[in-house]
């Protein structure tokens, strides 16, 4: 092949002949690029940079590694680090094992009631993470039903309770990832093994397990990350068991020690970034092995396997349901567990503001989802039209937020926006800043979904528009939007639902005037109004469940529209 051949004399250079872009098209492209990038820089990169900077500024104003030294020397934080690592590792191990069992049962067995199992796995998405802890306390706490009925004294506060709550919270995410890896295997491997005379156990050991390996690895890292950075469960059920997430909160909110808080924030970034990196490497290898035209494996019915498997799966599902159902049930009881009489009195919220936080959260979530969808859409649109090097850079910037735990982002926002000497300070204490924080917290997942959606737009369709005389605006309207409606809707609801329940970032940003619903649940619990906390959680769950239902309806409608009038 005639590669590396220099252009003959008299030829123009590489910059040669490039058709000019119309000015309207250039403007549209510039806006699509500049606005989201500006947002990302101002509301993500800049605050995060401040955390790194502040971790180096000591209490006396000196610059250096003093904070790091004092953090490492502080026995409290050393204990918290060890506790965090320990509890997260345990949670991960349990979640991967249980997650594999559930995913395997859902994908490969013929147990009935899979819909119920899936529904039970969706429950933790509906509520702030502290609901699991709340439910456990109602069941197993000092004033829980179990102690009440049996007379045993169980100490659920502490590592055991935290472990169970974390597992309940992390398990659904593990199941989703492992299921995906099981879904991608090819039935022909099993057919070949069957013909060669391999037993079911041999097929499981030699085909199923190796294929699910990367999925399990990936699930493990995700669970580790969400556990080590989760705040809600640790705050409610952790008791005296100190972990990094509560420690950073104590340092910043309790002792106003921003430098130390920043150091813990930076430390929290390390396991997350490592996890994200390894997960990416693993997923690339995973996809490298799969083939395009894989024939999906059909679930089979093997009583010796499916009966015990079904029992295990339903036991796990039952736990998930019982814990959340207990919260709902308790919210209607006069005095759990002593006076089990139906009442609505817990729904009269005594904390100042009453139900205002629910409306605040609704407003925040609508804002986060609304401008989030627009910004992500524009970003994905621009990213596709950039030269490859710039596109990669933008991509990297856009997925960076996935490596930053909500707590660190919340702290970063305090440092960046709780200032009196800058215009940025005007945003502090408004719903807008919390909406922005929630959006950038979940930026990466939304962006990846948008990019995947963009990829489904046939390039030839865009080119058809151009050749027929349409500008970039026509390309956007006639070629891209019709293919991206469903994606846009799902990103909108994803941002909305996450924003409704997230606690870790907003815990730093609320003010008495602007208080999101998830914070209210935590404050009610702290103030001892556990039943009101349960009632408030129930309200959040109903709101998010309605949103989920609305999304289903919208998706069904869009699906039907696509399938033809």
């Amino acid at each position: 092949m005639s590669t590396a051949m220099a252009p003959a004399a008299g030829f123009a250079g590489k910059s040669g002949h490039k058709p000019k872009m119309a000015s309207a098209d250039r403007l549209l492209l510039a806006v699509s690029l500049v606005v989201p990038v500006l947002g990302l820089s101002l509301f993500f990169l800049y605050p995060l940079g401040l955390v790194a900077w502040r971790s180096l500024v000591g209490l006396d104003g000196s610059i250096g590694l003093g904070n790091y030294a004092s953090v490492l020397a502080s026995p409290g934080i050393r204990t918290a680090t060890i506790n965090s690592l320990w509890i997260s590792a345990l949670t991960t191990a349990v979640c991967v094992v249980l997650g594999f069992i559930l995913a395997y049962a859902l994908q490969r067995s013929s147990i009935s009631g899979k819909g119920l199992v899936r529904a039970s796995l969706a429950l933790p998405l509906l509520a702030p993470s502290l609901v699991q802890a709340l439910g456990l306390i109602f069941l197993l706490g000092r004033n829980g039903v179990v102690s009440q009925w049996t007379g045993w004294t169980i100490d659920i506060y502490g590592p055991v309770g935290l472990l169970i709550a974390n597992v309940l919270y992390g398990l659904p995410q593990a199941v989703l990832i492992i299921e995906a890896s099981l879904r991608h295997s090819d039935a022909r491997y099993y057919d070949a093994a069957e013909v060669m005379g391999a037993s079911h156990w041999q097929q499981f050991r030699d085909i199923t397990l190796p294929n699910a390996k990367f999925g399990m690895l990936s699930a493990g890292f995700v669970v580790f990350t969400v556990t080590i950075t989760d705040f809600g469960n640790a705050a409610v059920i952790g008791g005296d068991y100190r972990v990094l997430a509560t420690e950073i909160y104590r340092q910043v909110v309790g002792q106003m020690n921003f430098g130390m808080g920043a150091v813990v924030g930076i430390l929290l970034l390390i396991p997350t970034l490592v996890a994200v990196y390894i997960q990416r490497v693993a997923s690339q290898r995973q996809f490298g092995g799969g083939s395009e035209s894989a024939i999906p494996v059909q679930p089979s019915w093997l009583p010796a396997r499916d009966l015990p498997l079904g029992m295990a799966v339903f036991a796990i599902s039952l736990c998930m349901i019982v814990v959340v159902a207990t919260v709902v049930l308790a919210s209607f009881m006069f005095l759990w567990p002593y006076r089990m009489e139906f009442t609505l009195r817990n729904y009269v919220i005594t904390l100042s503001g009453g139900y205002t936080p629910l409306w605040t959260s609704l407003l925040i979530s609508l804002m986060a989802a609304g401008f989030g969808v627009v910004l992500l859409f524009l970003m994905a649109f621009a990213q596709k039209r950039l030269p490859p090097a710039l596109a990669r850079l933008l991509y990297f910037g856009a997925i960076l937020p996935v490596g930053v735990p909500g707590l660190v982002l919340g702290l970063a926002y305090v440092l960046a926006f709780n200032v009196s000497d800058s215009v940025l300070g005007l945003l502090y204490g408004t719903t807008v800043i919390i909406a922005l924080c929630n959006f950038y917290h979940y930026h990466s997942q939304g962006f990846l979904t948008m990019v995947t959606g963009m990829r489904s737009v046939p390039p030839a369709l865009e080119e058809s528009v151009t050749c027929l005389g349409g500008g970039l605006r026509c390309v956007l309207r006639d070629a891209i939007l019709p293919f991206l409606t469903a994606t846009t809707v799902s990103v909108f609801f994803f941002l909305f639902m996450r924003s409704m329940v997230t606690l870790s970032a907003v815990i730093f940003l609320f003010t008495p005037q602007v208080m999101p619903a998830s914070v209210t649940v935590m404050r009610l619990d702290e103030a001892g109004f556990t039943l009101q906390a349960a009632a408030f959680s129930t309200c959040i769950m109903i709101t998010v469940a309605l949103a989920m239902l609305l999304m289903r309806v919208a998706m069904t409608y869009l699906g039907r529209k696509k399938a033809g009038a």
């Binding site: 030829f11 123009a12 590489k14 058809s464 027929l468």
Partner: protein
């Protein structure tokens, strides 16, 4: 109008995709760009459409320089392999799209759409959506959409490759008829030699970013100039000059003088006549029955030749045969 390409040059990083391409397309020409994948034919089409920039050379339509003219202002029609209809628009809306973008009055659009649907014989499907049509129907709509704006040039990027074999053959003659009737200069990219030979006025055979030969379908098939063309279009026996001089001296006459090592004789299978003959020097080594004819591999005077046998009663493997070659057959090609 007359499309003129002179010394067009295009690289992707260090890879030369198009190496000094020179080509003219007359006002009523149907030109096929033919070549294996990666030969640069699609790149050339996309540059003509304005979807890709180029590095050097000239690209003009009539008096107009196309080098810096954006695709949307060129006024060309393009049809892709993947149909690329708007899934959310009806057939009529798809066909009228280019006119709507140009802000033509609604009445004129409706009239033009009706006219084109008549042309592609689908007026009864005007209100259907693309997913309700067959592949062949979708591709006809795509062609109508490209024609609606009265393009000064029609570009077809492997338009028939996604269709079933039968539909493909039917569509071929439809495309040809429409193009003849409207007299629009057309450039089609294809890797299917049969398609190029049946459709084109002019076949441009490309390889490795270069034009190997331009000619009518008859010229390309009967008088290939390079080994690549002889090999890519149809089946050929490529015979070294020395061997031809020894074995078939009557064919050696036309061999140009000079470096005989760089020349080979391209002999088509149909030029070799096979007769069953117990005393013949040829021995059949392989037989492929193709229905109307049988293709034979024959070991003959130290070489294996491909020959054809029409009708039934073809020799079988191992049989002895004698071969004779039409005296004026074959074309000398550059090796």
């Amino acid at each position: 109008m007359h499309l003129s390409i002179k010394n067009l040059y295009k690289t992707f990083d260090d890879f030369v995709a198009l190496d000094r391409i020179t080509l003219d397309v007359g006002p009523r020409d149907f030109v096929c760009l033919l070549g294996p994948s990666g030969c640069g034919k699609t790149t050339l089409l996309r540059i003509i459409a304005g979807l890709l920039p180029f590095d050097g050379g000239m690209l003009t339509l009539g008096e107009k320089d196309l080098a810096t003219l954006p695709a949307k202002e060129r006024g060309f029609g393009i049809v892709f392999q993947s149909y690329s209809l708007f899934p959310n628009m009806t057939v009529a809306e798809n066909v009228g799209y280019g006119l709507r973008v140009r802000k033509e009055p609604a009445a004129r659009i409706a009239a033009r759409v009706a006219e084109l649907l008549e042309l592609i014989k689908l007026p009864h499907l005007a209100e259907r959506y693309p997913h309700q049509l067959s592949g062949g129907q979708q591709q006809r709509v795509a062609i109508a959409r490209a024609l609606a704006v009265d393009p000064s040039l029609l570009l077809l990027d492997e338009p028939l490759s996604a269709l079933d074999a039968r539909v493909r053959v039917a569509m071929r003659s439809e495309i040809r008829q429409v193009q003849r009737r409207l007299g629009i200069p057309t450039i089609m990219v294809t890797h299917d030699q049969e398609e190029a030979l049946t459709l084109a006025d002019k076949v441009v055979c490309m390889n490795h970013g270069r034009i190997e030969q331009i000619g009518t379908p008859q010229e390309i098939y009967a008088r290939p100039r390079t080994r690549f063309v002889a090999d890519f279009v149809g089946i050929s026996n490529l015979l070294p000059a020395d061997w031809v001089r020894d074995v078939l001296p009557e064919l050696a006459g036309q061999c140009p003088e000079g470096d005989t090592k760089a020349r080979e004789l391209c002999l088509r299978p149909e030029d070799i006549k096979v007769t069953a003959d117990g005393a013949g020097e040829g021995r059949v080594t392989e037989v492929n029955f193709l229905g109307n004819l049988t293709r034979l591999n024959v070991q003959w005077k130290g070489r294996e030749l491909v020959a054809e046998y029409n009708g039934f009663g073809a020799p079988e493997v191992g049989e002895s045969v004698s071969l004779s070659v039409t005296p004026s057959a074959g074309a000398w090609v550059r090796a």
